[in-house]
C-alpha cells in the first residue's frame, strides 16, 4: 500500500515540476522560431523512444553523487540514487514530454493575433498569457498533465536502475513476481490497474464536460 501511495505521490510531484518548466517551454516552442529549436524538440521526444533502462543508465550517470548534476545537488543535501528525488527525476524524464507536447498543441491552436488584440486593449504580455492563452488551451494542458501523471506512475525501467529503493508500485510488482511468483504479484497489479482506470475515467468525464469554445 505504501508503495502505491509513493508512486502516486512521486508522480504528482513529477507532474508539478513538469508543468512548472514544461508550460513555459511549450509556449516558447509554439510561438518562436529559433536556432536549435529542432534539437530542443528532439531532446524532449527522445525519452519516448529509447528503452527506459537506457534512460535509467543516463540518469544514474549524471545524478549519482559524483555525476555532473548529482554532485552539486548533493552539496545541498539532495541525493538521487535510491531516494525519492531519484524516483521523481526518473518519472520526470520519462513523462514530461506529454506536458510539453500537449500544451504546445494547445497554444498553437490559439491565434497569436488574438493575443495581439488583447495587448492593443492594454493587457501586458504576461497578463495576456494568463487571461487569454492559458484559459483557451487549458484543456490541452490538463490532458497533458494527466497523461504525464499516469505515465509517471507506470514508470519502471528508469526507476529500477536509478532508485530501486524506496519501492514504487511497479517495482514492487516486479519483486513479488520474481520472489514469490505470479499469484503474489496479482493483487498489487490489479490494484494499480484499478487506480489508473479510475484516473482515466475521471479524465474522460472531465474532458467530455469541458466547455469548448470553437465548436457548437
Amino acid at each position: 500500500m505504501s508503495a502505491l501511495f509513493l508512486s502516486i505521490y512521486a508522480a504528482l510531484a513529477a507532474t508539478i515540476i513538469a508543468l512548472l518548466f514544461g508550460v513555459p517551454l511549450a509556449y516558447l516552442l509554439a510561438r518562436n522560431d529559433f536556432w536549435g529549436k529542432g534539437f530542443v524538440e528532439s531532446v524532449i521526444d527522445v525519452p519516448l523512444v529509447i528503452p527506459h533502462t537506457v534512460s535509467g543508465i543516463i540518469l544514474l550517470l549524471v545524478f549519482n553523487p559524483g555525476g555532473i548534476f548529482g554532485q552539486p545537488l548533493s552539496q545541498i543535501g539532495l541525493t538521487f540514487s535510491d531516494a525519492i528525488p531519484g524516483i521523481i527525476v526518473a518519472m520526470l524524464f520519462a513523462s514530461s514530454s506529454f506536458v510539453v507536447n500537449s500544451s504546445r498543441e494547445g497554444f498553437e491552436s490559439v491565434d497569436p493575433r488574438m493575443e495581439k488584440v488583447a495587448r492593443t486593449l492594454g493587457s501586458g504580455s504576461l497578463k495576456t498569457f494568463f487571461i487569454i492563452t492559458l484559459p483557451l488551451s487549458l484543456r490541452n494542458v490538463v490532458v497533458g498533465s494527466i497523461m504525464c501523471w499516469a505515465r509517471a506512475i507506470s514508470e519502471f525501467g528508469a526507476i529500477v536502475i536509478l532508485a530501486y529503493y524506496p519501492t514504487t508500485a511497479p517495482v514492487l510488482i516486479y519483486r513479488r513476481f520474481v520472489d514469490f511468483g505470479l499469484q503474489e504479484s496479482i493483487p498489487v497489479a490489479v490494484l494499480l490497474i484499478s487506480v489508473c482506470l479510475v484516473l482515466f475515467l475521471i479524465v474522460r468525464l472531465l474532458i467530455s464536460g469541458w466547455k469548448t469554445y470553437d465548436k457548437d
Binding site: 492593443t120 486593449l121 469554445y213
Partner: protein
C-alpha cells in the same frame, strides 16, 4: 495625426519598402491594394504588432516606433474578428476597460452604451461562436472603440460579410467616425468600400504606396496604369442623391442630373461603365433614362477599341470599336449624344 517615415520591413520573401505616409487627424483613411501588396503588414506595423526594420512612426507628434503595443492607444479590428471565444459579448467589450481598472459600475454603463450604439445590446450574454459575422464584427468594433483609441486600425473589416450586412456596417461606420474623434485607418482590397467610406485613399502595390489622394483624384487621375487597372473604373462622378418617385433616384452632380434605379440618399459617388454608354450623332428615341449632349474632348486609340472622352457637363468615357468610330466619322470638338440606362448607373 499619424506620420510614417521611411518605414521598411522584410517579411519572408516580401518587403515593405520605404513607406512615407501622412494621415490627418480624425480622417477616414483607406489603404487600398490587391492581396499581397503589404497593406495588412503596414497596418500591423502601425499597431506595433511587429517590429520595424527601419523608419519611424509618429502618432500625434510622438515617436511610437518602439512603444510596446499595449501602450500605443490604438484599436485594432481584424477581418476574422479575433473575439475572445471564452468571454461573452459583454466581457469582450469590457476587456479594455477592465485592463484599465475602471470602476465596475462605470464599466457596466459604458459597455451598455456602446452595445446600444452598435445594436448588439440584446447579445450581451452570448458567446462569440453563437453570433453571425456581422454581430461579431460589431462586437469587435465596440471592443476597440470603448478604450477611446487615438487611432482605429481595421484590417479588411467587412470582407468576410455578406453584401447586405456590409452595406449596413458601411453606413454605421461612417456614423461612428463622425461620432468619435478618432482617426480611422481601414485596409481593403474592395474599391466600393473605399469609395463609400474614405476621406482619402492610399493605393498600395508590392510593398509601396503608389498614390495618395481623395477618391475623385485617384479614380479620375490614376497616376499609373496599375492604379487605373486596379480601381478599374472609368466614369466616376460625385453627386447628391434624392428620391424621385418610388423606384428612381435622381443624382445631382452640380452640372447634370443622372437617374439610377438604386435607392440612395445624400452624398454619393456614381459610376457608369463605358461599355454601357451608347453614342450617336443625332438625338434618337431610346428607353434610356439618361440622355446627354456633349462635345468630344479627347480620342485615345487603343487599337481595336477607341476611348473617347465626351464632355456632357461631366467628362464621360465611352468605348467604341474601331469600325463604329470610323463609320461615325468622329473627331475632337464634334457634338454627340450619349445614352445610358438608369439600371447601368451604380452608386457608392
Amino acid at each position: 495625426m499619424i506620420k510614417i517615415e521611411n518605414l521598411s520591413r522584410d517579411w519572408k520573401e516580401f518587403q515593405l519598402d520605404h513607406i512615407n505616409l501622412e494621415i490627418k487627424n480624425n480622417e477616414y483613411f483607406v489603404i487600398l491594394g490587391p492581396s499581397g501588396s503589404g497593406k495588412t503588414l503596414l497596418l500591423e506595423l502601425i499597431a506595433g504588432i511587429w517590429e520595424v526594420d527601419s523608419g519611424d512612426i509618429y502618432v500625434d507628434g510622438k515617436n511610437m516606433t518602439w512603444t510596446p503595443l499595449e501602450k500605443r492607444g490604438v484599436g485594432f479590428v481584424y477581418q476574422n474578428y479575433m473575439l475572445f471565444p471564452h468571454k461573452t459579448v459583454f466581457e469582450n467589450i469590457a476587456f479594455g476597460l477592465n485592463m484599465r481598472k475602471v470602476d465596475k459600475e462605470e464599466v457596466k454603463t459604458r459597455v451598455n452604451e456602446m452595445m446600444k450604439l452598435l445594436h448588439i445590446d440584446h447579445l450581451a450574454h452570448r458567446l462569440p461562436r453563437t453570433l453571425s459575422g456581422g454581430e461579431q464584427q460589431r462586437t469587435a468594433l465596440a471592443r476597440a472603440l470603448i478604450i477611446n483609441p487615438k487611432v482605429l486600425l481595421m484590417d479588411e473589416p467587412l470582407s468576410a460579410l455578406d453584401r447586405k450586412t456590409r452595406d449596413d456596417l458601411i453606413r454605421e461606420m461612417k456614423e461612428l467616425h463622425q461620432k468619435f474623434d478618432i482617426t480611422f485607418v481601414h485596409v481593403t482590397h474592395n474599391f466600393d468600400e473605399a469609395l463609400a467610406l474614405a476621406d482619402r485613399i492610399a493605393i498600395m502595390k508590392d510593398g509601396r504606396i503608389s498614390q495618395v489622394g481623395d477618391s475623385t483624384e485617384i479614380f479620375r487621375h490614376p497616376k499609373d496604369k496599375f492604379v487605373a487597372d486596379f480601381v478599374g473604373v472609368e466614369n466616376i462622378i460625385k453627386g447628391v442623391a434624392r428620391k424621385d418617385g418610388a423606384k428612381i433616384t435622381l443624382i445631382d452632380t452640380g452640372s447634370i442630373s443622372i437617374y439610377t434605379t438604386e435607392q440612395k440618399e445624400g452624398p454619393v459617388h456614381v459610376t457608369v461603365r463605358p461599355e454601357d454608354i451608347i453614342l450617336s450623332n443625332k438625338k434618337v428615341e431610346t428607353s434610356a433614362r439618361n440622355v446627354f449632349e456633349g462635345k468630344i474632348t479627347e480620342i485615345i486609340d487603343n487599337g481595336a477599341l477607341i476611348k473617347l472622352t465626351v464632355d456632357v457637363g461631366e467628362p464621360l468615357i465611352v468605348f467604341l470599336t474601331r469600325q463604329s468610330f470610323l463609320d461615325m466619322e468622329l473627331n475632337i470638338g464634334r457634338d454627340v449624344w450619349t445614352y445610358f440606362k438608369a439600371t447601368a448607373v451604380h452608386t457608392f
